[in-house]
Amino acid sequence: MEKALSNKKILALFLLPGLIVFLIFYFVPILITAYYSLQDWDGINPMTFIGLDNYIEMFTVDKSFWQAVWNSFAFLLVGVFIQLPISFALAMLVSRKMKGRKWFRNIYFFPVVMSTTMVSLLWVKIYDPNIGMLNTLMDAMGLGSWTQAWLGDTKTALLSVLIVTTWHYVGYNMLILFAGMQGIPEQYYEAAKLDGATGWKAVRYITFPLLSDVLRICIVLNVIYALKTFESVYVMTNGGPLDSTTVIALKMFQEAFLKQNFGYGSALAVFMVLECLIIAWVINKLLTQEKIEY
């Protein structure tokens, strides 16, 4: 067996088909993006090497870039400080031993499996000032003065998109946290009860510390998802009105495929990758502590 398993031909047969597809259609493009980002190029004419000019333009000239960075951070902050606590509460709720908890878990999770395109188109209609469900419901509840064109107003557009992503993804974090909570042995809670720690105290001294690994994963996931937000904005507002909802990924897409600025678009892509990797790394560093044993 040992001999057969070190046969080079068979190894190549098993490894190469997948590896070649992966390298050509994923790994190599990542490297090429970095190369393109140093060029001035419209995708058709020969490219000219311009060094870091694209990056300099990005950081100093392009105002909508900073708007996009800020918006991505809005997604990040909402993901970590609003969505995650809600998910935590939902996970606590569905972990209670009560009838029908599996039903509730399934209902809360279901939006996650629907496509962002679908969810976004649905909410475009919900926010629609004429036929939309939201304004109609507000009218019915006597809140008629609050109705407006939610996605068409610079004041409400970003918030409206943020609400949709929260609605869409709370179930995802809930599920991961729920799975983590299932892994905490029941004895700990029983022991804590004897010591008088119930309710919030039990959450504070048992659930939180023992869930710290899972919480860290959730935070990193939320951050990365937030930083690469594209579909929801593309479908709901296309960055508008007046760049009020634009994000880095959307800017990259528009620069490259609408304005034919392939070099500049690539620089935005590189920025996105570095942003994701660095922030994920920092969070991991900050939140990794000694493992807690009881």
Partner: protein, 275 residues
Amino acid sequence: MLNKTKNTAIYILMIIIAVLQLFPLYWLVVSAFKDNSEIIGGAVWALPTKWRLDNFTEAWVSAKVSQYFFNSVTVTLVTLFFVLLFASMMAYALTRMKFKYNGVILFVLLMGVMVPIHATLIPLFMILKNLGILSSRLSIILPYIAVNLPIGVYMLSAFLRTMPKELEEAAFMDGCGVVKSFFKVVLPLLKPPLASVAIFVFLAVWNELLMAATFIQKQELRTLPLGLMNFSGQYSISWGPLAAAMVISTLPILLAYVLFSDQMEKSFTAGAILK
């Protein structure tokens, strides 16, 4: 007594949240059966006065959702087949076979789990253009396979590492070669993690928009998310047919959810922990 009140309060809270999660979907489904006057004039929570199927025929036939549906099915199935095949072969080679660059390959694959696909978009566009396959089914299938392979390899390797080698050893004793023992012994044992990978990849591919929007320019090759987006631009006034198209495009997911919700939970948690 106090406990009972508390329990009822929690139940009510949970039901309110469930309504918040489900009401938009309820509105979608009933809208798909309503005509325009009912949608604009009627109450949002009302059931249709008559369950009309016009919107569905309109979406399926005139708006070509049937074609988008077929495209999505083709692209998803082909991608799924190759991801499962390649990922299990790679995972097997990386965990069971002896060679030097094992660690390097796993590290390179890790890039595929960490780096967002957006970063590959512009070069991929040029690569596909130069290969002459831009705006063909292959132009999204190949990137979809590449994007989904790493997570598949990681999920399957994790499983293989914990799987005892005795059965394979027995197969070798019986004179099976590596290839035969892989297909006859290993693959059947990999079924549970393969199901998880399959669900993960199915949802990712079925729902993908960015690459489809960039690489598919022919109208007749559009996948469902892309078709729906375009549809909503053309039919900006009539919500009914769009709602019907959206219901149709979600049916396979709903079906998968009803059939495999436990497996789906597992695959999402496993996928998340790996990321």
